[in-house]
């Protein structure tokens, strides 16, 4: 059946900017973070070099961490003050509309029954983003606890949440795999949706607009 599409504005500029800050910072954080975990490169060039490979990797990690934190703060703000698609009320399966959408999304991804894409994220995605937000909070606290180990403020947070620097380091490292897993699933599902429904989901996070199915079939 042929459909008409209508271009609709879905995501605001701040939302899209934070998306790409997340993408870039998570990539950088994972690469530099893994290097800090296993600094294989410097070992080969230990003598006679004034390059600060580990120091530079750590610096990039800290820098990306600050960008990541800033983006998380923006997203938190948008949950309450963003447009309808950006708000937490659109994301969580707590309303009747969202509960139906949550179930529909699961059936959709299982190829059982395709649902008509809506303008915002489906509620399954929204719920995943809440989980990601909570994990990001753990990453931010453990990260700043390790960046400023002598700071009284971060010590209160760090010792209460992780008890020690070693534990926070371990948690920080293990949770890195969540982001690797998230990125793989996220990219796969975005492309899959784009291919299946032609709504322009991938370009929506660049342009801000999606192409929604118009209910009525084409005249001819």
């Amino acid at each position: 059946m042929a459909y008409e599409f209508e271009k609709r504005r879905a995501f605001g500029a701040l939302y899209r900017i934070t998306h790409w800050v997340f993408a870039a910072s998570c990539l950088l954080l994972t690469i530099t973070g893994y290097y800090i975990y296993e600094p294989w490169f410097t070992t080969m060039l230990e003598k006679g070099t004034a390059d600060f490979t580990v120091a530079n990797m750590r610096f990039l990690h800290f820098l990306a961490g600050y960008f990541f934190t800033g983006a998380v703060i923006c997203r938190f703000y948008l949950w309450f003050f963003g447009n309808r698609q950006e708000r937490i009320t659109d994301a969580l399966p707590v309303t009747k509309r969202n509960l139906g959408n949550f179930w529909g999304a699961i059936l959709n991804y299982l190829y059982i029954r395709f649902h008509t894409p809506r303008l915002g994220h489906n509620a399954l995605a929204g719920t995943t983003y809440l989980l990601t937000f909570l994990i990001s909070m753990v990453m931010i606290v453990s990260g700043f606890y390790m960046l400023f180990p002598e700071s009284a403020t971060w010590q209160v947070w760090g010792t209460n949440l992780f008890a020690s620097q070693a534990t926070s380091r371990f948690v920080h490292f293990i949770l890195m795999y969540y982001y690797i897993f998230f990125a793989m699933v996220h990219i796969y599902i975005a492309v899959w949706n784009d291919v299946m429904f032609g709504e322009g989901l991938v370009s929506a996070i660049i342009s801000g607009s999606k192409f929604l199915h118009v209910k009525r079939p084409k005249a001819d």
Partner: protein, 368 residues
């Protein structure tokens, strides 16, 4: 040191077996030898042959001898005196005057080509070398007579190695180090002001065990003691990398034991094992006491390392000001941008609501 009587230990000049093994182990560690080599060092050190040593003093303060023989840990000095046959040493020998000169003469004749010549102090060369005379002869004369007949020359201290403070600009006496006057003999430089006794002990034990001098860098310094930069083994190195500095003596950063680079530490340009070996057996060295390295193991350090309390030029700091410091300052700006972005978003929303009224926004209408 519970109940240990130091006085007795100092008064008793005999070297105990325990102290002897400890000294050999210390030297093995300094040389970077495996502990399986310690028995060989011990065997070499207990062999009856003791190389005769002629110790020449020229333009110097005797600080090198002092630090060597009066190490707070008495074993080192005793071990050195046990290992070598110190036939001529003006400061510690009993003989004086013509008797002493006779000893020197006898030693170099008896052990021609076999004794080790240790030189302490620079050698003045200006005006025929008249600025340092012993027994009516110039230092240049004495060195020219003794050094060619030795097996090897060890220049102990920065003065003998590179001229030291005597050679500092304007160098009024034309002072030079041994390497500028002696040619055709192996010369080993053990610079420092004073050098660590362990470096000398390690050199002697290496010579006794392997019958050759240890490997050196291109300035003739043994690599086991002068192979790496102070900066690279410094206990305060992490503070350098992260950008935490003592900005002035007695200041906040200084009290926090932060990096001393900005108050003039020359560790990034100085080769020595001070951070690892340390001094006086109390685990101390200048940097751990809050004073920067002055670069005393480097040639012409009085000229090239001064002013002592100003930072070395062109030393690269990670990412400009150090990792944590730079990240913190950039991070503040990123947080500022975040706040600005939220503020802009909120202002745009409020403005649109004022212009269009409190009715549903476009997005909500579209969705339904």
């Amino acid at each position: 040191m519970n109940g240990h009587d130091d006085t007795r230990e100092f008064a008793d000049m005999r070297l105990t077996r325990r102290s002897f093994i400890k000294g050999c182990t210390m030297a093995a560690a300094a040389l970077g030898l495996a502990d399986s080599m310690i028995p060989q060092l011990v065997a070499a050190a207990t062999a009856p042959r003791r190389p005769p040593v002629v110790w020449l003093h020229f333009q110097e303060c005797t600080g090198c001898s002092e630090s060597l023989l009066r190490a707070s840990h008495p074993d080192l000095g005793r071990l050195i005196l046990d290992l070598i046959s110190l036939d001529y040493h003006e400061t510690v020998m009993a003989a004086a005057g013509h008797q002493a000169e006779e000893v020197l003469h006898d030693t170099i004749n008896k052990h021609d080509g076999k004794f080790i010549c240790v030189v302490e102090g620079a050698i003045p060369t200006k005006d025929g070398g008249i600025y340092c005379k012993i027994g009516g002869r110039t230092a240049m004369d004495i060195l020219a007579e003794v050094a060619p007949r030795s097996a090897a020359v060890v220049a102990i201290g920065s003065c003998a190695a590179f001229g030291g403070i005597q050679a500092a600009r304007p160098n009024p006496t034309g002072a030079v180090g041994v390497r500028d006057l002696v040619h055709g003999k192996p010369i080993l430089n053990i610079p420092g002001c004073p050098p660590n006794p362990v470096a000398f002990l390690g050199t002697v034990l290496h010579y006794l065990t392997f019958s050759r001098l240890p490997a050196t860098d291109n300035l003739g310094r043994p690599l086991f003691a002068y192979g790496r930069k102070i900066h690279d083994h410094c206990e305060r190195r992490a503070h350098f990398d992260e950008g935490r500095f003592a900005e002035q003596f007695g200041g906040e950063g200084h009290r926090q034991s932060y990096c001393l680079y900005k108050v003039g530490c020359k560790g990034p340009a100085t080769y020595s094992n001070c951070p690892a070996v340390r001094f006086n057996d109390v685990n101390q060295w200048p940097v751990s006491a809050g004073h920067g390295c002055i670069g005393c193991t480097e040639p012409a350090f009085w000229d090239t390392m001064t002013p002592f309390y100003e930072r070395l030029p062109e030393i690269k700091l990670p990412v400009g000001q150090g990792t944590v410091t730079t990240a913190e300052s950039v991070g503040r700006k990123i947080m500022g941008v975040t706040a600005a972005a939220i503020g802009l978003h909120a202002a745009a929303g409020v403005t649109r609501r004022l212009l269009k009224g409190t009715a549903k926004t476009d997005e909500i209408r579209e969705e339904e």
